[in-house]
């Protein structure tokens, strides 16, 4: 990559006049100074100054380059700048979002917040224990449903299905399934249990079913990719020793791919643990802890955040602050899962030389 990037420089330098290496830095400094000056004299805020400075930089560098170098070089510089601007624009929301959640949520975190529920709590901050329990149980249920189905389907796709018509359809529809809106998954679970159990049924396992609908395609795809990476030599060596195919898969193929599979499953969990819409419909909400997946409404972190923020009752500050606290806890859980996925991938990686 580096060699590619320096190549045009040397070629171009030989033929045409170039701006000095530090030209972008100069242009940037000048643009920022001009923007600040203009902004202060006209009374803009920081955002306005930055926007104007960026525009000045883009235009200024373009003109400078056009004068000294040529139109093509100017366009090149312009596009390079635009790409970095795009990157900056993409970062702004993330930074501002994390900043907002941390500054609003961090003051909420304390022992009581994590170990209390909202049962019998009136007019004072309670805790999110019941929501954390609900989220863990519902996600566990979704995992218990998704992992066997996803794993076996992936094995079918790679080891048995091959290019058969059914395998091609499954592969294609699994891809399409990754795009199912989460609220549709929730409605599906609602409609399913309305018919099977009774109208208006709300319980934890329904959330597990809804989330598994979102989780299965992710598990299948990542597992399939991992199984494909297992070298064929391993399989053939095993067959040569007279080991049946299923034993080969269970004892040779799966262990080899295990690191990637675990990473994929953990990422899939991280993807669904923050889902709100399906749980709102099929799990409902409660303020006491409920350990029974098969009976009664079950609170979950995302639904707690949503309902606390939108229905804070008489002292809105208290519950809305708790919602930000809940959001911070949820983000921490998701980030931790992402981290675990990476670490697990490393730990379970097959040891070379064994």
């Amino acid at each position: 990559m580096t060699s590619l990037q320096t190549a045009p420089d040397t070629i171009a330098q030989a033929r045409v006049r170039r701006l000095p290496r530090f030209a972008p830095a100069i242009a940037g400094a000048v643009a920022l100074a001009a923007g600040t000056l203009l902004g202060i004299s006209l009374g803009w805020n920081v955002a306005g100054i930055v926007v104007v400075a960026v525009l000045l930089y883009l235009v200024g560098l373009n003109i400078w380059s056009r004068l000294v170098e040529n139109a093509r070089a100017a366009t090149d510089r312009m596009m390079t700048s635009l790409i970095w601007v795009a990157l900056g624009l993409a970062f702004i929301p993330l930074v501002s979002l994390l900043y907002k959640v941390i500054t609003k949520g961090a003051p909420q975190l304390n022992g009581r917040f994590l170990t209390w529920t909202m049962r019998n709590v009136i007019g004072e901050p309670g805790g999110i224990y019941h929501a954390i329990i609900g989220t863990l149980l519902i996600t566990l249920a979704a995992t218990v449903i998704s992992v066997p189905v996803g794993l076996l389907s992936a094995i079918y796709l790679v080891e048995y299905g091959g290019e058969s018509r059914m395998a091609r359809w499954i592969r294609f529809l699994v891809d399409v399934m990754t795009g199912i809106p989460s609220i549709v998954a929730g409605l599906f679970a609602y409609a399913l249990f309305a018919i099977v159990v009774g109208p208006g049924t709300q319980f934890g396992i329904g959330g597990g079913v809804a989330l598994s609908l979102l989780m299965i395609p992710i598990v299948v795809r990542s597992t399939e990719e991992m199984l494909k990476l297992v070298p064929n030599d391993l399989r053939e060596a095993s067959y040569a020793l007279g080991v049946p195919k299923w034993k080969t898969i269970v004892r040779v193929v799966l262990p080899t791919a295990m690191a990637g599979i675990i990473t994929g499953v953990t990422l899939a969990i991280a993807r669904v643990i923050g889902e709100t819409a399906p749980l709102l419909i099929i799990c409902g909400n409660t303020d006491s802890s409920n350990f029974n997946l098969f009976g009664g409404q079950m609170a979950s972190l995302p639904v707690f955040i949503y309902s606390s923020y939108t229905q804070p009752g008489r002292n809105p500050e208290i519950l809305q602050n708790m919602a930000w606290g809940g959001a911070l806890v949820l983000i921490i859980i998701v980030m931790a899962l992402n981290l675990i996925a990476r670490i697990a991938g490393r730990i379970f990686a097959p040891k070379t030389g064994h």
Binding site: G127, I261, S289, R314, I340, A344
Partner: protein
Amino acid sequence: MNRTALRRVAAPGIAALALGLAVSACGASNENGGGSSSDSKLSGTLKGAGSSAQEAAMDAWRAGFQTDNSKVTVNYDPAGSGAGVEQFNAGAIDFAGSDSALDAEKGEVDAAKQRCGGVNALEVPNYVSPIAVVYNLQGVDKLQLSPATLGKIFSGEIKKWNDPAIAAENDGVTLPGDAIAPVHRSDESGTTKNFTDYLEKASGGSWKFPADKVWPIKSGEAAAQTSGMVAAVKAGKGSIGYADESQATDLQQASIKVGDAYVAPSAEGAAKALEASPVDDSRTEGDLAVKVDRTTTEPGAYPLMLTSYVIACPTYDAAKADLVKGFLSYVVSTDGQSKAADNAGSAPLPSSLQQKAAEIIDGIKAK
């Protein structure tokens, strides 16, 4: 190898489970029912669902009742009135809270009868709360509006704050020429139903839509839930909306015209308006549905209010009967009503209604 593979698959699951158990082993700090002072014989779990308007009051009642009876758990799911009635009629819950009385035309009365084993269901008002007309106009601390003007404002006929119709009712108030931005609820809600019901009956024709849970006009700012409404009015200069009075205390509130006087929203006013309203006599005994008189001229009454009901059966299994009776008696008791007033800002039931309600609930018995 085989075992290893399984163990590896299981590892994250077991870890998660272990985490869950570890957290759960200690239980929630505030849920260890250590009510040694309580010598109540009641025990068991009650399930209710319905009106989200009642939630704050229900929290107070549940907390009070559970403290008195430490072996009892009362769950209330503020899923919405519709969901509450539906679940009650399906037999999924023991009692329901609803912002409107059971609707005979929709077959809800019959369904409830069927659910209660062929006996008519009980229905008593348990929660009354004034709805405030809230607005955001700098420098205008006192605003008086007649229902006819309100109807015109909310249907978009009056567009500016200094409209002659508004000015005529507010002598000595300097009204700005700002545009009026009416705010309504974007979700289905009992507050909207009661507000539109009030406009329909009291505006004298300037509001042309029937009462509905969904706002009938497709324009203007829309906000979800009471908090969204409050936030939208607070943020929007020149906006006007309607919200549960207890949750709108830091907003400017308009007085509405009742008879010849203007009345500011208050719990007492709401209770007075309820007292002045007749009980629907087409209903069966035990069904205390009130026909709220939106056009009452009773001095001090505030007829723009939400009346919410609790719906239950006259008979239950032996185990449930005492529980339901105990809890609902507490809800309509003076003690319970004042707890709700403290926590939810609701109006205590007028004594005549309270007495009737208590009598009806007292009749709950085991099958």
